[in-house]
C-alpha cells in the first residue's frame, strides 16, 4: 500500500489549490471584467466596455466603473454610459451557478454619449436600417394648394361627352336623311301623279255612250286602286319619317343636357373640396411624432429579448447545436426555484439634458415565470431644467410567457418649449416659439399588439409662421389663423401590431385651421365652377345648334311627301266625281 501512495502528492495538491485560489483572488476582478465585456458584447452586438471592476468577498458584491454600451447602429456613440454600478450578491446562490443581486445602485446613467473609438464588432452586421426614416411620414407636398388649373388645359385634356354624342347623332341624322331621300326616289312622284291626272282627264273627256260608260266602269276602279295604293305608300313613308323625326328630336333634347353632365363630372374631378383638410394636425405634427415612436419601438425591440425568456420546447433545444465545447445546460426542477440571473432591486439615477431623474427598478430577470413577479420600474424627477416634474411608472409582465404584457404610464408636467419647428416644408413654415406643455401618456403592449395614448396640452402658446416662406393662399390663411392661438391640445393614438401600427393624431387645431380656410375654399370653388361652366357652354353651343338645323333636311322630305300625297288626294277627288 505504501508503495502506491505518494504522500508528497497531498502537499503538491494543496500547493496547486493555493496557487489556483491565489490566481483567482489576484485576477478575479480582471476575469469578471472580461466576462461581463464578452457577454455584454455578445448580447448587444456592439462593444461593451468597463473601466474597472472591483470584487469583494465579504460582503459578496462589487463595483463596476465606467460601463459603456455602444449603440449598435452608431458605433461612435454609446447607447448608455454608467459611471458607477455597485451591487450586493446573494453568495449561497453563486454555488448553484445563479447570480442573484440583492441590491444594485447605478449612478450617472447617461444616454447617447460620444465615444473616443468605434465600438463596432467585426462580426456584427451593419444595421444601417433607418427605421426612423422608414416609418416617418415623408415630407412631400401635403397642403392642398388650391391652384386653379387652367380651364383650357382641362378641356383640352378631357373629352366632352356632349361633343361625342353630338357627333354620333349628327352622323345618324345624316344617314337617316340619306335613307329617306333614297326612299323618296322610289316612291310615286309628281310625274306619276301627272300621268294619273292625264288618265283621269282622258276618262272625263271620254265617249258618253254605253261603250264609254262600260269603259269608264272598268277603268275608274282600277285607276282608283292604283292611286290609293300610291297614296298609301307615301303615307307609310310619311309615318316612318314622322316617327324617326320624333325619335331624333328626343335624342337631341337628351344631348342638349350633356353640357350640364360634363360640367358636374369635371367639377368633381378638378374642383376644390374640403376633404383633404380633415387631419391637418397629423400633417403638421405627424412626421416628427412618427420618428419618436419608431425610435422608442426600436429600443423596445432591442431591450425585449434581453428580458424575455425564450419560448421553446425540448425539441427546439435539441435542434439548436450549441457552440463547440460549451454544451447545453439542461434544467431540472428545483426545490427552491431561483432564476439564473436576478436583480431584485436596482436604484438608478439617470442624467438627461434637463437634469437628473431617479428611481427604482425591481425584479430584473429573464425568468419571471420562476419568480412569479413582473419587472417594475418607477422613475421621477422634480425641478428639472426644462420640466417641472416627470413621473414614469412601468411594468414588464412576462410571468406567463404566452400572455405577456408591458405597460407604461406617466406624466411630464410643465415642459417649456422654445423655438421648436413644427413644419419646415416648402409649403408651410410653422414654428412653436414658446409654450408650456403638459404630457400624459400611457401605453401597453400585449403580445405583439400596441395600444398607446398620449395627450399634449399646450398653454401660453405662441405660434409663428414666416409669411415670406408661405407661398400660397392656403398656407397664408393657416399661418394667420394659428398666430392667434394661445392654447391647444394634441392627442396621439397608436394602435395595431408592432410591425404595422396606425398613428392617429387629432387636435383642436383642426377646427381653427378649417375655419380659416373654409371661406377661402368656398370662394375659390365658386369661381372655378363659374368659369368651367362658361367654357363648356361655349364649346358645346355651336354643335348643339347645328344638330337642330340638321333636321331641316327631314322637313324638306316631309314637305315633299306631303305635296305628293295631296296631289294624289286631289286626283282621287276628281276621279270620285266621275263615279
Amino acid at each position: 500500500m505504501k508503495k502506491w501512495i505518494r504522500w508528497q502528492g497531498i502537499v503538491a495538491f494543496l500547493v496547486i489549490i493555493v496557487v489556483l485560489l491565489g490566481f483567482f483572488f489576484l485576477f478575479a476582478d480582471t476575469l469578471v471584467k472580461k466576462g461581463i465585456e464578452a457577454a455584454g458584447t455578445k448580447a448587444v452586438g456592439a462593444k461593451v466596455e468597463l473601466a474597472d471592476v472591483t470584487i469583494s468577498l465579504s460582503p459578496a458584491g462589487g463595483e463596476i466603473k465606467g460601463l459603456q454600451v455602444t449603440n449598435p447602429s452608431k458605433p461612435m456613440e454609446n447607447a448608455v454610459e454608467v459611471a458607477s454600478i455597485r451591487f450586493l450578491l446573494d453568495a449561497p446562490n453563486l454555488f448553484q451557478r445563479k447570480i442573484v443581486i440583492k441590491e444594485m445602485g447605478a449612478d450617472g446613467v447617461l444616454f447617447n454619449t460620444q465615444r473616443k473609438h468605434s465600438g463596432a464588432v467585426k462580426t456584427q452586421e451593419k444595421q444601417s436600417k433607418k427605421t426612423e426614416s422608414q416609418k416617418a411620414l415623408k415630407k412631400e407636398k401635403w397642403l392642398p394648394t388650391f391652384d386653379i388649373k387652367d380651364i383650357q388645359s382641362i378641356l383640352q385634356k378631357e373629352k366632352l361627352v356632349t361633343l361625342e354624342e353630338v357627333k354620333k347623332l349628327e352622323a345618324e341624322i345624316n344617314q337617316g336623311q340619306k335613307t329617306f331621300e333614297k326612299k323618296l326616289h322610289s316612291l310615286p312622284n309628281r310625274k306619276t301623279f301627272e300621268q294619273y291626272k292625264v288618265r283621269v282627264e282622258k276618262l272625263q273627256s271620254g265617249s258618253k255612250g254605253i261603250q264609254g260608260i262600260i269603259g269608264k266602269a272598268r277603268d275608274i276602279p282600277k285607276l282608283k286602286t292604283d292611286i290609293e295604293k300610291d297614296i298609301n305608300k307615301i303615307k307609310n313613308a310619311e309615318k316612318d319619317l314622322n316617327k324617326t323625326m320624333v325619335n331624333l328630336k328626343k335624342r337631341i333634347k337628351n344631348v342638349s343636357q350633356g353640357p350640364s353632365k360634363d360640367f358636374h363630372r369635371l367639377k368633381k374631378k378638378y374642383g376644390i373640396t374640403s376633404q383633404g383638410l380633415g387631419n391637418m394636425t397629423g400633417l403638421i405634427f405627424g412626421p416628427e411624432y412618427s420618428v419618436w415612436v419608431t425610435k422608442g419601438l426600436y429600443w423596445y425591440g432591442k431591450l425585449r429579448p434581453i428580458l424575455e425568456q425564450s419560448l421553446g420546447n425540448e425539441g427546439d433545444e435539441e435542434a439548436k447545436e450549441p457552440e463547440r465545447g460549451k454544451g447545453m445546460n439542461i434544467r431540472f426542477k428545483e426545490d427552491i426555484p431561483v432564476p439564473d440571473f436576478l436583480i431584485k432591486n436596482a436604484n438608478i439615477s439617470l442624467e438627461i439634458p434637463a437634469g437628473e431623474i431617479a428611481g427604482e427598478i425591481k425584479n430584473i430577470t429573464k425568468d419571471q415565470h420562476i419568480t412569479g413577479l413582473p419587472l417594475t420600474c418607477e422613475l421621477s424627477g422634480k425641478k428639472l431644467e426644462k420640466f417641472e416634474s416627470i413621473y414614469i411608472n412601468g411594468t414588464f409582465n412576462h410571468v406567463v410567457p404566452s400572455r405577456t404584457e408591458e405597460r407604461i404610464k406617466g406624466t411630464i408636467a410643465g415642459y417649456r418649449v422654445q423655438d421648436m419647428p413644427l413644419s419646415d416644408s416648402e409649403e408651410l413654415s410653422l414654428a412653436l416659439k414658446k409654450a408650456r406643455v403638459d404630457i400624459n401618456f400611457q401605453a401597453s403592449i400585449k403580445g405583439n399588439h400596441l395600444d398607446s395614448n398620449m395627450t399634449f396640452n399646450l398653454s401660453s402658446v405662441s405660434l409663428s409662421s414666416d409669411k415670406t416662406k408661405n407661398p400660397n393662399q392656403v398656407s397664408k390663411a393657416i399661418g394667420s389663423a394659428l398666430a392667434n392661438v394661445s392654447s391647444f391640445s394634441v392627442s396621439a393614438k397608436i394602435i395595431g401590431p408592432l410591425n404595422n401600427y396606425d398613428v392617429k393624431l387629432t387636435s383642436d387645431l383642426d377646427k381653427v385651421i378649417n375655419k380659416a380656410i373654409y371661406g377661402l375654399v368656398r370662394q375659390l370653388q365658386a369661381d372655378f365652377q363659374k368659369r368651367l361652366n362658361k367654357e363648356i357652354v361655349a364649346k358645346t353651343n355651336g354643335p348643339l345648334k347645328s344638330l337642330t338645323s340638321d333636321l331641316g333636311g327631314y322637313n324638306q322630305i316631309k314637305k315633299e311627301l306631303n305635296n305628293r300625297s295631296n296631289s294624289g288626294k286631289n286626283i282621287l277627288r276628281d276621279l270620285k266625281k266621275l263615279m
Partner: protein, 168 residues
C-alpha cells in the same frame, strides 16, 4: 509533435510499471475529455498526485485527449443530451440538481455528462489495453526493432536524437 513522440518513447522505455503508465493515461483521459473546469478534475488531480501514477504519462495523455475532446464534442453533447433527458433518470437528475456540490460539478451540462460517461466507460478497457500493449512493447517490440534496418535509420534521425537528449 516530435517532442511528444520522444516523451512517449521515454515513458514506455522507463522503469515505471505498465500499470502506472496505463492508469496515468486513463486518468488523463478523464481530465482531457471532460471540460477542464469540472469539479471532478480536482479529484482526478488529487488521485494522480497522491497515488504513484506516472505524472509524465498523465500530462502527455492529458494533452492528447484534450485534442481528441475538441473533435468529439458533438458526440459528447448528443450522448449527454440523451442521458440527461431520459425520463427514467429524471428523478435522479432532479435529486442531483438540488445538491450544491453536484451543481458546481455542472453535471447537467451535456458535454460534461457525455464526456464523463465515455471516459468512465472506457477507463477499464483502456487500462487493460494499454497494459497489454506496453508489456508487448517491452517484451517483443524493443528487441526486434533494434535489429531492423529501419531502427538503424531511426537512430540516425532527429526523433532519436531528441529521445537521447531526454534520456540524458
Amino acid at each position: 509533435m516530435i517532442d511528444m513522440i520522444a516523451k512517449l518513447l521515454k515513458i514506455l522505455n522507463s522503469d515505471a510499471e505498465p500499470g502506472q503508465i496505463s492508469i496515468a493515461f486513463c486518468f488523463a483521459m478523464i481530465a482531457g475529455l471532460t471540460p477542464l473546469y469540472s469539479l471532478h478534475n480536482l479529484f482526478v488531480l488529487l488521485i494522480v498526485l497522491l497515488f504513484r501514477v506516472n505524472l509524465s504519462g498523465f500530462i502527455l495523455g492529458w494533452a492528447i485527449f484534450s485534442g481528441c475532446a475538441y473533435l468529439l464534442d458533438p458526440v459528447f453533447h448528443r450522448l449527454g443530451y440523451a442521458v440527461l433527458t431520459m425520463s427514467s433518470l429524471e428523478a435522479l437528475w432532479t435529486f442531483f440538481y438540488n445538491i450544491v456540490l453536484l451543481r458546481l460539478e455542472n453535471f447537467n451540462n451535456t458535454v460534461v455528462m457525455g464526456s464523463f460517461i465515455i471516459s468512465i466507460l472506457l477507463f477499464l478497457p483502456l487500462y487493460f489495453l494499454l497494459n497489454f500493449l506496453i508489456q508487448k512493447y517491452r517484451t517483443h517490440f524493443i528487441g526486434w526493432i533494434q535489429k531492423t534496418r529501419i531502427a538503424q535509420i531511426i537512430k540516425a534521425s532527429k526523433i532519436y536524437a531528441a529521445y537521447q537528449g531526454l534520456m540524458e
